[in-house]
């Protein structure tokens, strides 16, 4: 009786029920990230206006994507950790350590005998193990994530320097380079990997129990615990997942530069966190979006591409970058608010 009116009122206010399916997915991703999309489009327009064909060239776009790929993979992993209420400052150092470890294996004498897949597996293993250590320190050792991963940052870089003796390790394993330098239907393998990781990350975050629990652990750990989720184990898994992503990023970086080095991954922590946060993931946890992160990564890489095409001085770039970041965030806020999200 009286409930019907109430229901009608409530329904009026409720957001439209979401449809599943790809079109809905794209629509909703674009919808929720209107501001970011607009910022990216404006940036591209800026690129076209100032650099014309040099910007709007397939090769150039592929260059942007290739550049985005490595940090993109790390950022997808970072999205999980931040959504789960954590933070990881050691990602760059883990990339460095993984790259050095894997390439030392490849360069030290064994070079001719090992299959390139061993390099890949080593990097993944090292990355995953570092993530595991972070996770255990944080979840079971109860060390604040910021400090634990800051410590890992120092330790992993130091270890990478010791292992590599501070030398750049050059990889000459033929199969490795051949595989990663290839293209699939004109799209470089690195970009394909990034796309697969992003898509996989989206599915994992939005369509699996793991993803649901990640939101819960980040949004309200006490409620998650009461719901029977093993918050600590889940936290360990989140950091391990990010570690794996770092290992993969290390492989991609080895492929791109043909080297492993203790200097790889410098300041990735800031870049990745910035991409994640600008994408709309809350630093306090509980809310995260892979699509936003991908847009965030693309905005940053496109930005430096446009700057370079325009031969801008580094200092001017820095000032402009600051301004553009603020504008992008303000745009995203205003537009997201308008679309009612």
């Amino acid at each position: 009786m009286s409930e019907d009116t109430a229901a009608a009122v409530a329904k009026e206010k409720a957001p439209a029920v979401k449809e599943s399916g790809l079109s809905a997915l794209l629509g909703s991703a674009a919808g929720r990230n209107t501001g970011l999309v607009v910022a990216l489009v404006l940036l591209c327009l800026g690129g076209v206006v100032t650099a014309g064909d040099r910007f709007a060239d397939v090769d150039n776009l592929l260059t942007i994507l290739r550049l985005a790929a490595v940090i993109g993979v790390v950022s997808v992993g970072m999205t999980f950790v931040i959504t789960g209420g954590g933070i990881d400052l050691s990602v760059g150092a883990i990339v460095a350590l993984s790259s050095v470890w894997a390439t030392t294996l490849a360069t030290q004498g064994l070079a001719n005998d090992i299959h390139w897949i061993v390099i890949v597996l080593t990097a993944l293993l090292v990355g995953g193990a570092c993530g595991l250590v972070n996770g255990v320190l944080i979840a079971y050792g109860k060390v604040v994530a910021f400090i634990a991963t800051l410590a890992s940052l120092a330790a992993a870089r130091g270890l990478a320097e010791i292992i590599s003796n501070r030398k750049t390790q050059i990889v000459n394993v033929p199969g490795f380079t051949a595989f990663f330098d290839a293209s699939v239907l004109g799209v470089p393998v690195l970009v394909v990997i990034f796309a697969v990781v992003a898509a996989g990350g989206w599915v994992l975050l939005n369509r699996t129990t793991f993803g649901r629990r990640t939101f819960a652990v980040g949004g309200n750990p006490e409620a998650a615990r009461l719901a029977g989720i093993d918050v600590r184990r889940h936290t360990v898994m989140l950091y391990s997942l990010l570690g794996l992503c770092c290992g993969l990023a290390a492989v991609m970086l080895i492929a791109r530069t043909t080297t492993g080095s203790a200097t790889h991954g410098g300041l990735y922590e800031l870049d990745a966190i910035a991409a994640v946060v600008i994408g709309g993931t809350l630093l306090t946890g509980g809310r995260g979006t892979i699509a936003g992160t991908v847009f965030g990564v693309l905005i940053f890489t496109t930005l430096s591409n446009v700057f370079t095409l325009n031969n801008l001085s580094i200092s001017a770039q820095a000032v402009a970058k600051g301004a553009i970041i603020v504008v992008a965030v303000l745009l995203q806020q205003r537009l997201a608010r308008r679309s009612g999200a």
Binding site: R166, T258, T263, H264, N305, L309
Partner: protein, 322 residues
């Protein structure tokens, strides 16, 4: 200097011929401080200094954490002063910023040897070992001019190192000055961060920015490895590259003549090692061999030679592995 090919073996770091001066003398404690080894050349500097010190039984070397925080580096020097070391070999992150504390050390009677980045005051160091950043640019520019041989519309690109460092500006200035000598100029310039990864990133963007290039000068061979990878990825090959600093990697590429690198300009990574030697001699009151002078000179400026396929064999043995 460190660029002379050595015949004594014992690794390719820190050359130097053994001379009478090498006979053990009174014990010398040397403190060594340098910026963070966040790239290969800087790591090589420290490694070479350590290796050099290891050769002398009368030298005790104290190496401290490399840092890009001038405040921390100042406190390291202060610690050396408290410690009453005999000499300090200092590669300052910022020469001017470390000047006051170097003056303090000199006043405390400690022999300060300034390496690479020059102090602001002539009284702050007993002796200064300088690379020649401006000269490096000039060497690279001159080589590019020769190689392009009057091609007046040539596109020359430059991949600089960390742009906020004065040394980068010196190099760029030398390069630009030399180029203008043959009517050329830098049409595209990007900056990287002395690391492989940043070199790759900067070069990938640069190659998009300039559809056709004739020559590229890259300030640093560490980032050069990345630059070469980016060139390979892009499949471009219409240009030649000149490196900087002179790493073994790049020299091998020049030797094999199968990559974009056709030359590199040496910026000796043995300056720290030279600093150690000078410090020891100055403390022990010995003179510099092969010089008539009785005292160690006030300043030694190292030469920035161009290494090409023709002379690479001479330089490769002392090149640093980055």
């Amino acid at each position: 200097t460190g660029n002379t090919p050595q015949d004594t073996g014992g690794g390719n770091q820190g050359g130097g011929v053994r001379v009478a001066n090498d006979e053990p003398g009174e014990k010398v404690v040397i403190g060594f401080s340098a910026p963070a080894a966040d790239h290969g050349w800087m790591a090589a500097i420290t490694n070479a200094a350590k290796a050099e010190a290891g050769k002398y039984s009368d030298v005790e070397l104290r190496v401290v954490e490399g840092t890009n925080d001038v405040n921390l580096q100042i406190s390291q020097v202060e610690t050396f002063i408290n410690d009453k070391v005999d000499a300090i070999v200092l590669l300052p992150f910022d020469g001017a910023a470390l000047t006051p504390v170097a003056l303090k050390a000199m006043k405390a009677g400690i022999t300060v040897i300034n390496v690479d980045r020059e102090f602001d005051s002539p009284f702050a160091a007993r002796s200064t070992v300088l690379g020649d950043n401006y000269g490096m640019g000039v060497s690279a520019g001159t080589y590019v001019c020769e190689k392009l041989n009057g091609k007046s519309d040539a596109v020359v690109a430059e991949i600089a190192g960390i742009d906020s460092l004065p040394l980068t500006q010196d190099r760029s200035k030398g390069f630009a000055d030399a180029l203008s000598g043959c009517g050329l100029k830098v049409s595209n310039r990007v900056a990287a961060e002395f690391t492989v990864e940043s070199g790759e990133r900067a070069a990938a963007n640069l190659l998009q920015a300039a559809p056709k290039i004739d020559a590229i000068w890259n300030h640093d061979d560490d980032q050069g490895v990345g630059v070469a990878a980016a060139v390979k990825n892009s499949g471009r090959g219409e240009f030649f590259m000149v490196g900087g600093a002179g790493s073994a990697n790049v020299m091998r590429e020049i030797q094999a003549d199968n990559g974009p690198h056709k030359a590199t300009v040496i910026y000796p990574s043995t300056q720290g090692a030279d600093g150690i030697r000078l410090a020891r001699l100055a403390v022990q009151n010995k003179s510099l061999g092969d010089l008539v002078e009785v005292e160690v000179p006030r300043q030694v400026q190292l030469y920035a030679p161009v290494v090409t396929k023709d002379n690479v064999d001479r330089y490769l043995p002392t090149a640093f592995e980055s």
